[in-house]
Every structure is written in structure tokens, then in C-alpha cells.
């Protein structure tokens, strides 16, 4: 990839953009100023709608539409930035918040203005305490500079930003569990509907957006929707940060237009597979992902919200984990299942009990203690979970299991038929 101008990871091209003076020299906070001083809140939402920006947290829901859903009959409104980034294989929000924090904060501020929230919260996973401290400093600096706080730019609009640390639960990245956690309750997902735009934080209408999503917003406002649409595809416009990890030579974050193929990411950016090994499978959405057989068709599939499902997976948060032929699939799914069992909140039966059961079966398989019928049992248990849970975590726990069994049967047969 030749030096295209980066939109989200601008700190890689503009040194010290995390500093307020540098950020402002590069057009920083102009978008928020423009919004507050010259635009109606709904106009801001319309611009974001027109850009076609879709949520970068995993679901790909149109961001402007989400803002427009905010119930205007109930006040106050809140904005919550989801910085819980807990999906194994995802590390993009962290880099944005560390390297380019002001652009992210400006995005939060613009979203807040668009829905007329007077308070916005940034919910960070507990391990991000240093980032939270840095964000707190930036927020103080912004307030001192009159860029956040009361009666902004003399227009009467006031806004405060707050950081809030989680306490070590993957489930709190699920937006309703996050809202429960912020309300001081047990981090368990809520029943939906009602959805956060009508019943969110403290029971009030709330916009919940991912860090990366919000970080796009200032530049969309500055340069306009058409500029944003220059990158990406018709239905998935813009750029996306792909967190590349696993068996590749150069793992890391890559900001690329949506629609870039797996092959480009893995071989042009990531430098291919180390050593003699051959690529075997791709998990495009972290541990929650289905396993894609890494054949030519898959490698040439564009990474956008519409194309990835065609090869039997989802783009999700675009945390692309590469698996080569040195990795046994039974080991891989045992590892993902253990993760989900550990993180299941326990609220609904299939997830609580099913992940625990799958952990035992997958352990038996990797330890060579399983019988052939255990493969069927594992398949049955995963199927019993899938589609029957309160939130998506339960389904996520079955993706790698079911696609692993289906698409890589040889790895499992080898384990259970050893003694026979």
C-alpha cells in the first residue's frame, strides 16, 4: 500500500497530533465548531447519514440512522462511546485513542451535539486505565481551552465528557450490558426492545457508538459526505482499520478502504505467512468469527459488510486472525470456547450452561480423550445454543465450533480416532 492519506490513523503521518495545538493546526476541532456555530443538530445527523458511515463495532448499522432514532420526546439524551474493545484480535480503538485521541473526542462531541446530549461518556475496558487517564487530561485541556464545557462558542450549547472504566467483562462491550454496568448494576445484557435510542443510559435515550465510528465523524463534517464516499464501496463506504493478527509476518493495524481483499491485506500489507507454512483459515471478526477456508475464492473476497457473508462469515469489527496449517483446529476452537465460557455473563441458560459444556467437550478432544460421538455431541450442544440466547455472545461462542467441525473435519477425526 503506497502512502495514501490516512483518515483515522493520522498520527502515523502527522507527528504529535495527540497534542491539542498540533491537532488544531491540522483542522482539529473545526468540525465541532462548525457544527455548534452554524448547523442545526439534525443537519449534522443528515450529513452523517449521507456519508453512509456504518458502525465499526461489528454490526455495521448505519450511524446517522441510529442518531436519528434518538427519542426526542424523552430527555436528557446521552452519548456513550464504546471503548470496551474486548474482542480477541481487535486492537484498533486502542491505537486511535493512544495516537489520535483528539479526533476521537471531537467525534464524541459532534455526536453529542447532533442528539443534543449534554453529557457523553467513554466506557473503556478496565485494562485501558492509562488511556483513560490520557483522555481525562485531554478533556481537561479541551475544557481549559473553551472547546468543551458550558456555553460553547457563545451559542448556549454545553457539553461535558467523562471516562468510565469497566471491571473486566467482555460482555460489557455489548451495548446494553455496558449501560447496565455504567448504571452501577451487574453487567448483563438487557432485554431488547427497547433499544438504547429510546431506553439507554439511566433509562434515557442514548446513542452508543464505537470509537472508530466516532473518529470518522469530524472529517466527514469537514470534507463532506462525498469525500468520505470516495473510499470503500457503494454500500460500505469509507476506510476501515483491519487488525491483522495470527500467523502473518507483519501483524498490526491497517487502515484500508472497505472492499480491500483478504489477499491484499494478508500478503501486501501483512507480508504473508511466516516460514514454509500455508494459510489454512481466516477468522475475519476475532474470536466471534466463523472459520473461513482460506482458498483462492476467499482470499479474493472484498472485505466489506456484504461480501464477507458470501464466504460464510461476517466482517464484524474486522479483526482478521490468520491461521496456517501448523494450527490444529480442535486446539483453536477449544481456545475460543474457553474464552466464551469465561466471559458468559450467566444470564441466559443456553450460553451459561452450553459454553461450560462445550469447554469440557473441546478439552476432551484436544486432550485425546474424546470418542467419535463426542464430535456429534459438540455439534449438538453448539446447535442448541445457537439462535436461542438473550444476546449475541451465545451465538458467537458457536461460530468457530460449528464452522470448524463442518469445514475442517479432518483435524477432529484425527483426534478422536487415534486409538481406533
Amino acid at each position: 500500500m503506497m502512502e495514501a492519506e490516512l483518515i483515522l490513523l493520522r498520527h502515523r503521518q502527522i507527528p504529535d497530533i495527540a497534542r491539542l495545538d498540533v491537532y488544531r493546526q491540522n483542522g482539529g476541532w473545526e468540525a465541532f465548531h462548525k457544527a455548534v456555530t452554524s448547523m442545526q443538530p439534525d443537519e449534522v445527523t443528515e450529513v452523517v447519514k449521507a456519508s453512509g458511515l456504518r458502525g465499526r463495532g461489528g454490526a455495521g448499522f448505519p450511524t446517522g440512522l441510529k442518531w436519528a432514532f434518538t427519542d426526542k420526546k424523552v430527555w436528557p439524551h446521552y452519548v456513550v462511546a464504546n471503548a470496551d474493545e474486548s474482542e480477541p484480535g481487535t486492537f484498533k480503538d486502542r491505537e486511535i485513542m493512544e495516537g489520535n485521541p483528539l479526533q476521537f473526542l471531537e467525534g464524541v462531541a459532534i455526536a453529542a451535539y447532533a442528539v443534543q446530549a449534554r453529557a457523553a461518556y467513554i466506557y473503556l475496558r478496565g485494562e485501558f486505565w492509562q488511556i483513560a487517564a490520557q483522555l481525562d487530561e485531554k478533556i481537561d485541556e479541551l475544557e481549559a481551552a473553551g472547546l468543551l464545557g458550558d456555553n460553547l462558542f457563545g451559542g448556549g450549547y454545553s457539553l461535558r465528557l467523562y471516562t468510565h472504566l469497566g471491571a473486566g467483562a467482555y460482555i460489557c462491550g455489548e451495548e446494553t450490558a455496558m449501560l447496565e454496568s455504567m448504571g452501577g448494576l451487574l453487567g448483563q445484557p438487557r432485554l431488547r426492545p427497547p433499544f438504547p435510542p429510546s431506553f439507554g443510559l439511566f433509562g434515557k435515550p442514548t446513542v452508543v457508538n464505537n470509537v472508530e465510528t466516532l473518529s470518522n465523524v469530524p472529517l466527514i463534517l469537514l470534507h463532506g459526505p462525498d469525500w468520505f464516499r470516495k473510499a470503500g464501496t457503494e454500500k460500505s463506504p469509507g476506510v476501515k482499520i483491519f487488525s491483522l493478527s495470527g500467523r502473518v509476518n507483519k501483524p498490526g493495524n491497517y487502515e484500508l478502504p472497505l472492499g480491500t481483499t483478504f489477499r491484499q491485506l494478508i500478503y501486501e500489507c501483512g507480508g504473508g505467512i511466516p516460514g514454509e507454512a500455508k494459510i489454512k483459515a481466516i477468522m475475519p471478526a476475532g474470536a466471534s468469527s466463523s472459520l473461513i477456508v482460506a482458498d483462492d475464492k476467499a482470499l479474493d473476497t472484498p472485505m466489506d459488510y456484504e461480501s464477507v457473508p458470501e464466504v460464510g462469515a461476517q466482517l464484524g469489527s474486522a479483526s482478521v486472525i490468520i491461521i496456517d496449517d501448523t494450527v490444529p483446529m480442535d486446539w483453536l476452537i477449544a481456545k475460543t470456547v474457553r474464552f466464551f465460557q469465561h466471559e458468559s455473563c450467566g444470564k441466559c441458560t443456553p450460553c451459561r450452561e452450553g459454553t461450560y459444556w462445550m469447554k469440557h467437550i473441546t478439552n476432551r478432544i484436544t486432550n485425546g480423550q474424546a470418542k467419535p460421538e463426542d464430535l456429534q455431541l459438540l455439534h449438538d450442544v453448539a446447535s442448541q445454543i445457537k439462535g436461542k440466547c438473550l444476546c449475541a455472545l451465545g451465538d458467537f461462542s458457536t461460530e468457530a465450533v460449528l464452522t470448524g467441525l463442518e469445514r475442517f473435519p479432518g483435524d477432529f477425526d484425527a483426534k478422536v480416532n487415534k486409538d481406533r
Binding site: 458468559s344 455473563c345 450467566g346 441466559c348 441458560t349 436461542k388 438473550l390
Partner: protein, 849 residues
């Protein structure tokens, strides 16, 4: 009423009001959709996933907005890709619900299999076995075998006390959160909650003492497994071994419907023994809940301390006697006294007992008094809440005024129901001299000085702008006229209005003034004679209202009443236990017959002691504080020689040649019905009438409502007050006496605690941790002035004597006030001057002088 929605569930055409959840709509038509976490009294959470069904909805054309139709013209029904939870989905027009398809059956089987992977399956030793939703639904929907390896089961603690009344078995818990949600949503005392996550999720208590709530026992009824059990019942009996008797709670004026579960036991010599007390559904009274006093304070009925036989005083000693001897002695004494006969009756007695007692004294030309310090039962008959009053139907159109009452302590279930009405939008005003647990739900709270409760209500009447009678002037201290005007205006404007008055800090005089003032306010604002309008009395006993209705009334001065009598017949009344200074008056009377359950302080002084029966050993009827007349039934056979009070009184009457009915309470009720206008037409048969109640509980479907019993034995009859017949309400102003503090500026006021040291409470040993030691409560400012610290032992000097007590400090108690709980061994009947001194000092001074 919300519009009805038509839908199809399991091929059956069903109608339900908009907003009804599918699971409830099905239930009303007898269609079973199994649930674990859902409970009809709580908000749905959709956690257990047992109720998954296929749901189809008519589909609209996205472009035209028109319904899409099948070839035959019927609406095309679109089924989603996933099963949905019937407990969280409201019905909608044209919906088609399928709960019998293979996919749904498989889903149920799957959920059961999942639940059982962590369940110990120790049904053979589990208290819930036999009435267990998990057991029942496993039999119905489970697969019969588990594919889960036994060795991979988790082993968890099986004996975790959540407080001293409720135990948790962590292995059995299926994390349905019913208990947590009950404490949170229904009671709003969230003292238990979940800790950890996933398979480690466990119920913990974070109050001190543990599970600190008067409603804790209800969680064991709604627990769908054997995870929560009561200390009382754990390992005591299997559900199928027990018989069920319909009963009423004898402890407070709510009249909660109970089921008493009994079993014959070898260790009791083959006698029937009460194993547990359970709630019985009466949506007009207690819904499906009871408080912990009702659930656990039944042990007095089978206490070893019960009077076992008649006693007669011979040579100054009480010695065992035959019934004949004892009855003859009593009759002879009463005959001799003639019109100087005085009957003193407690509010624990049934209507039949009280009626016979009143008949006996009338025949003798003597007097019969109710032993109580609260007045207003006569007004209840006039302006009591009208027939068809139901707390459950009160909402924004109703104003509820609670005055001089700590409702959670005086009548816990009414507290719960008033709280829920307020949450539904009823306009609640709490008027009390100090904060109570009801304040939180009130739209207005008002404080007054003890003794000025009646004046405050009068000032509300005077503040009404509309035409009002001139009853008198009142200017309660420190009240803002605006506030009083606002509350009065709101009360007057409300479509419906109810006043609940209690006995916070009142004695007979102040109570009488208060009750009349409340009646005045109801009459003036036209809030009488209609359902959900009128007066409710938070009496101190279960059948105080019945006593008033049978013609018995209290007096201010029992000392005087006793002194003027030549023979006293104290039935279920222990004046000496409450006030030792009455001993002299009792001795003046010369002849004392005590009819009791226990050898009370008064009984120790008696010439004749007659053993009576407890509520569990007999039948009878109570009239509750909303004038609902209800029946209770015998649950156990007595092991004493005791007889029912109405029967004993009748036999004494027979010896004296009077025509009293003593054969059965049903026959006594016939006489009541012909003698008492308000009870005319009442028969025992009518009291057994039931009508359909919602939600369905206790049938074969314990999974739905819990183990609460279905009511098949009678919902009772609410008696219409005079106002409902259009009779005018007499208005008057009774000026209350002025209450004065003592030399040290302290005024003692009587207050009620739910768990007291009364003879029907103390025998329940498991409650001892919760029953306080005799104690008084005062403001820290007064305490500092007197050098008293929290927990100090103090001498409490009252008219009735000098008694030791533990001092407690509470900011909520007004300065100058000392709260003295009733039935706690401290002699107090009305507000009076009090002197306090630290006990150690008093002892020291006494020994040095």
C-alpha cells in the same frame, strides 16, 4: 380497558387485551407454555429461554403498506428465523403462536438438558421435590437421559445461610433471578443480588443482618427449584405427606389468607403437627404473598407452654381442675357479680367468640369491653372502605392518605399494596411525626407533633375552599398553610380516596379524635360509600374490627373499669402483661376468670383459668381492617384439654340458664346474622364462595405462580359500610387531650413493631434473632443531653412502673420524644411523660445511698 387483540395460539383462537404477554394470554386459555424465570407478578426478563415458541405475524407489503395475502385470501403469516420468548413478547393482532412444533419441543428439551447439567438432581432429599417446577417440567419436556458427563458437574455449597431464615443451596439454583427480582421489583428492598458471572453466578445477601426484609419467605415460594428453603421447613417433610388446611393469619388486621400444612408424626405421638404456613391466594387481600411474621410466628399454636387444662385457685394456689369444676366456679362467680360483671376481650378472638361474650354480659346485665387502645371501629362501620374495594385496582385516580401509621410495621401487606398502588400512580400522602419506610413512595409527606394528628386533619378540612361545616378551629404547630391546603385540595379533587390510620403514638383518646377527624374529611370530600373510598384501620390485632362489629368497644381507663367490676372475665386479654399497675384494680374486682392460650401475667392472678384453642385448632371468622369477613378452618387437633372460646363462653352461659350457641361457629354465625344488621344474610356457606382469580397459582402449574396455594375455600365478603347504603355520616369534632412532656422534657409515645415480644410471637424461636430486646428510641440530641449512648441500659419511668430497657438513638425521632414499642414488656398505653436515667448510674446511686 385496553382493546382486545385476536391471535392464534396452538391452533386455538385467543383474545387478550393489548399489551398482554403471550405466555399470560395462553395461560388464561389453559394453554401451557413452560417457564422458569417468568413470574406473572413481575416484569419479564427472558433469561431461562424455556418459553421459546414459534411466532408468526401478518406481513405487510413494504411498498403499498397493504397486508400480503395467501392464494385463499387469508393473511400471509411470516415466521421469523429464530424462536422467540413467549414471556417477553406481547400479543398482536393476527399473530400465530406455535408451541407444539418439533422445533419448539426440541428447544424445551434442550433448555432442560442445559439446566440439569449443573443441577445436582438430589430430588430424593430436596424439600421442593413433589412441588418442584424443575422436576415437573423435566418429566414433561426433558429427555430422560443426560449426555453430560457426571464427573464434569460442578460441586457447590449446599448450605449457605442468607440471613437466619432463608437458606441457599447453590447447586440447585438455576439463576432465574426470581428471588432477586422479587426483592427488587415487588418489595423494593434489594438486599439480595447476583455475584460473579456465568456458571459462578450466585445469590448473595448484602444486608446486615442477612436478607433483612419482612417479606423474605416469599422467595422460597417462587423459587422454581429447591435452592431457597426456609430454616423452618428444611428437611421437615415431603410436600405429598402433608395435608392442607385453609386458614387466616391471626397476627394483624390485613387478614392474609393462609394454608397451614400439617402432617401426623410419630415423634408427636401420632398427633398432627404444623409443618409450615404458606400463603393462599386472595388478590383482594394479600395477592399471593405473606410476611415473615405470618409465615413463621405460628409456633405458639403448638408450644409446650400452652395451658393444657383448666386451673382453679385453691388455698391461694392455681391447681388443675376438671372442666365441670372450673366452669361451675366461673358461672357461680359471674352470677354473684350480676350486673357488675365485666368481660374484657382481646382482638385475637373470632367473631363467634366475641358475639357469645357480648351475649353473656348482656344476659347478666354486665359490661363487655374490647381490650384495645385504638378507637374508631364504629366509624369504620359507617365510612369504612366500601364493598369491592381493592388495593390492586388503585392507580392515578386514587388518593391514599396514611396517617399516624408506620404501615410496614403495623400491617406489612398493606404497606406492600399501598406502595404498589403509588407506583401505579396513586397519589400517596404520608402524614406521620417521623419518617417511615412508606415515605419513599409518597408524593407528599407531612410531619406533625405527636398528639396533633386529629388537629392536622381538621386543619385540612378547614383549608378546603369548598363549602364545609364549621367543626372547630385547629392550628397545628409549625405547619405551612400552603402545604395543608395543597394536600387537602389534592385529596378533595381525587376521584377516589382512602385514609389508612394507625396507632403511631396514639392512645385511646387521641385515636378517637383522629378516627373521627378522618371520617369527617372523607364525608366532607365525598369519599365514602363507593368502592376504593373510605377509611381503613390498621388495628393492632386480627379481629379488632370484628369486636367492634359485635358491639364491644374499648375504654380509656381500664383501671377504673376493673375497679368498678365485681367479676372480671378476661378472654384473650392480658392487661397485667401490658401494664403491671393494673394488678391492684384486678384484685379489687374480687373474682377473675382468665380464658387464654398461655398462663399470662393476668392468668397468674386469676381464680379460674380456662384453656382456649389457637386459630389452628378450631374454626371461626375474622373481620379485617377493610371489613372483609373471612373464615378460617381447623388445621390440627389440639393436644391440650382446651376448648374454643365461643364454646367455653356458651357453656358458662348454659350454667347460668342463658341461651347461647356453643355447638359450632357456623351456628353462632347464624345468630350473628340475625342479631347484627351489618352481618345479615351472612352464612358460613357464603364465606366459602370463590371466583376466578388471576394469575392462576398453585394448581398443577406450580411452575407459573409458585407454590402459593390456590384459594378454593373462600375469598370472604367485604361488608358494605353504612355510607354505601346512603346513610348520612355524622360529623363532629372530638378535641384530643393535650399531651404533656415530663420534667425532663420527654414524652413517651407508644409505637408498634411487627416482631414484638407478645405471647403469640415469642414461642417461634427462629424469630428470636429478629425480635428486639425491650428498647426505647430517642433523638441523639436528647440522648446527649442525658448522657445516654446507643446501646446503654436505661431506667424508663412510666406511669405503669419503672422498667429497664436498651436505648437506641435515631435522628428520625423528633426531639423530646421517646418511642416505646408496644408488647415489648414496657408499660405504655398512650402518650405520657417519661423520665430516663442510665441504669448503671441508677444502680450505683441506689447502692451508695
Amino acid at each position: 380497558m385496553k382493546p382486545l387483540v385476536k391471535l392464534i395460539i396452538d391452533d386455538q383462537q385467543v383474545e387478550a387485551p393489548e399489551g398482554t404477554l403471550i405466555v399470560d394470554a395462553a395461560k388464561k386459555y389453559g394453554i401451557e407454555i413452560p417457564v422458569f424465570c417468568y413470574h406473572p407478578k413481575m416484569e419479564p426478563v427472558g433469561m431461562c429461554r424455556m418459553c421459546l415458541v414459534e411466532i408468526g405475524r401478518p406481513e405487510k407489503d413494504h411498498n403499498t403498506g397493504a397486508w400480503i395475502k395467501e392464494a385463499d385470501g387469508s393473511l400471509k403469516i411470516h415466521f421469523g428465523p429464530k424462536l422467540e420468548t413467549a414471556c417477553t413478547t406481547p400479543v398482536s393482532e393476527g399473530m400465530v403462536v406455535r408451541g407444539l412444533t418439533e422445533e419448539v419441543k426440541a428447544a424445551r428439551k434442550d433448555v432442560i438438558e442445559f439446566l440439569l447439567t449443573s443441577h445436582p438432581l438430589d430430588c430424593p432429599v430436596c424439600d421442593k421435590g413433589g412441588e418442584c417446577p424443575l422436576q415437573n417440567l423435566t418429566m414433561e419436556h426433558g429427555s430422560g437421559i443426560s449426555r453430560f458427563l457426571y464427573d464434569e458437574k460442578s460441586r457447590l455449597a449446599k448450605h449457605v445461610p442468607l440471613g437466619e431464615l432463608i437458606l441457599l443451596d447453590r447447586e440447585r439454583c438455576i439463576q432465574c433471578a426470581r428471588c432477586v427480582r422479587f426483592q427488587d421489583e415487588v418489595v423494593d428492598e434489594p438486599v439480595i443480588g447476583f455475584f460473579q458471572r456465568g456458571r459462578s453466578l450466585e445469590i448473595v445477601t448484602f444486608s446486615e443482618p442477612g436478607f433483612d426484609s419482612y417479606f423474605s419467605g416469599n422467595t422460597t415460594d417462587i423459587c422454581p427449584v429447591g435452592a431457597l428453603t426456609t430454616v423452618d421447613f428444611r428437611f421437615e417433610a415431603r410436600p405429598w405427606e402433608m395435608k392442607a388446611a385453609a386458614s387466616l393469619c391471626p397476627h394483624c388486621p390485613v387478614g392474609c389468607n393462609l394454608t397451614v400444612n400439617v402432617r401426623r408424626e410419630a415423634r408427636a405421638g401420632g398427633e398432627t403437627v404444623i409443618k409450615r404456613v404458606m400463603p393462599r391466594q386472595n388478590e383482594k387481600v394479600n395477592e399471593i404473598w405473606i410476611c415473615d411474621k405470618g409465615r413463621f410466628a405460628y409456633h405458639f399454636a403448638q408450644s409446650k407452654e400452652r395451658l393444657s387444662q383448666p386451673l382453679l385457685r385453691k388455698n391461694g394456689e392455681l391447681v388443675a381442675a376438671s372442666w365441670q369444676e372450673a366452669l361451675d366456679a366461673a358461672a357461680a362467680g359471674f352470677r354473684k357479680a350480676g350486673q357488675d360483671f365485666l368481660a374484657l376481650a382481646g382482638g385475637r378472638l373470632a367473631n363467634e367468640d366475641l358475639f357469645n361474650l357480648a351475649q353473656l354480659s348482656a344476659a347478666l346485665g354486665g359490661k363487655s369491653l374490647l381490650y384495645s387502645t385504638m378507637a374508631g371501629g364504629d366509624l369504620m362501620a359507617k365510612v369504612g372502605v366500601a364493598q369491592d374495594t381493592d388495593f390492586g385496582s388503585m392507580g392515578p385516580e386514587t388518593a391514599i392518605l396514611v396517617v399516624a401509621c408506620d404501615l410496614q410495621e403495623e400491617a406489612p401487606l398493606w404497606w406492600l399494596r399501598v406502595k404498589q398502588a403509588a407506583e401505579r400512580g396513586a397519589n400517596l400522602t404520608v402524614i406521620n411525626p417521623r419518617p417511615t419506610r412508606l415515605d419513599k413512595y409518597a408524593s407528599r409527606t407531612l410531619r406533625y407533633t405527636y398528639g396533633e394528628e386529629a388537629a392536622l386533619i381538621l386543619s385540612m378540612i378547614n383549608a378546603l375552599s369548598a363549602k364545609r361545616p364549621n367543626l372547630g378551629e385547629a392550628a397545628p404547630k409549625g405547619q405551612e398553610l400552603d402545604t395543608i391546603e395543597e394536600i387537602a385540595g389534592m385529596f378533595a379533587k381525587a376521584e377516589n380516596a382512602v385514609i389508612i390510620y394507625g396507632s403511631e403514638g396514639t392512645g385511646f383518646d387521641t385515636s378517637q379524635a383522629l378516627a373521627q377527624a378522618c371520617a369527617n374529611l372523607l364525608a366532607v370530600t365525598n369519599h365514602a360509600g363507593r368502592p376504593n373510598n373510605g377509611l381503613v384501620a390498621a388495628w393492632s390485632a386480627a379481629n379488632t374490627q370484628g369486636a367492634w362489629d359485635m358491639g364491644l368497644q374499648p375504654v380509656k381507663d381500664y383501671d377504673e373499669a376493673l375497679r368498678s367490676a365485681k367479676a372480671v372475665y378476661a378472654v384473650a386479654a392480658d392487661p397485667l402483661g401490658d401494664d403491671p399497675s393494673l394488678a391492684e384494680a384486678l384484685q379489687t374486682a374480687g373474682f377473675l376468670v382468665v380464658q387464654e392460650l398461655f398462663l399470662s401475667d393476668t392468668a397468674r392472678l386469676a381464680d379460674v383459668v380456662l384453656p382456649a384453642l389457637s386459630f389452628a385448632e378450631r374454626e371461626g371468622s375474622y373481620t379485617n381492617g377493610t371489613r372483609r369477613l373471612q373464615r378460617f378452618y381447623p388445621a390440627i387437633r389440639t393436644i391440650t384439654q382446651g376448648q374454643a372460646d365461643y364454646a367455653i363462653t356458651a357453656q358458662i352461659g348454659h350454667s347460668l340458664g342463658f341461651d347461647l350457641e356453643g355447638r359450632s361457629p357456623a351456628l353462632v354465625m347464624e345468630r350473628i346474622a340475625s342479631a347484627m344488621a351489618d352481618y345479615s344474610g351472612i352464612t358460613y356457606a357464603r364465606l366459602t364462595e370463590v371466583s376466578e382469580q388471576w394469575p392462576h397459582v398453585g394448581r398443577h402449574d406450580v411452575y407459573y405462580g409458585g407454590t402459593t396455594y390456590e384459594n378454593t375455600q373462600g375469598l370472604g365478603i367485604q361488608l358494605p359500610p353504612a355510607a354505601q347504603h346512603g346513610e348520612p355520616i355524622p360529623l363532629s369534632w372530638i378535641a384530643p387531650p393535650e399531651v404533656k412532656a415530663g420534667e425532663s422534657g420527654l414524652l413517651a409515645v407508644p409505637v408498634t413493631r411487627l416482631l414484638d415480644r407478645g405471647q403469640t410471637v415469642l414461642p417461634s424461636q427462629l424469630l428470636h434473632v429478629r425480635i428486639p430486646q425491650p428498647g426505647i428510641t430517642l433523638n441523639p440530641q436528647d440522648a446527649q443531653r442525658l448522657g445516654i449512648q446507643e446501646g446503654n441500659s436505661v431506667q424508663v419511668k412510666l406511669k405503669g412502673g419503672v422498667v429497664p430497657a436498651i436505648a437506641h438513638l435515631d435522628q428520625g425521632v423528633p426531639v423530646g420524644i421517646v418511642l416505646v414499642p408496644r408488647s415489648m414488656g414496657l408499660p405504655i398505653t398512650e402518650p405520657e411523660a417519661v423520665e430516663l436515667s442510665i441504669l448503671e448510674l441508677a444502680v450505683a446511686q441506689a447502692s451508695s445511698s
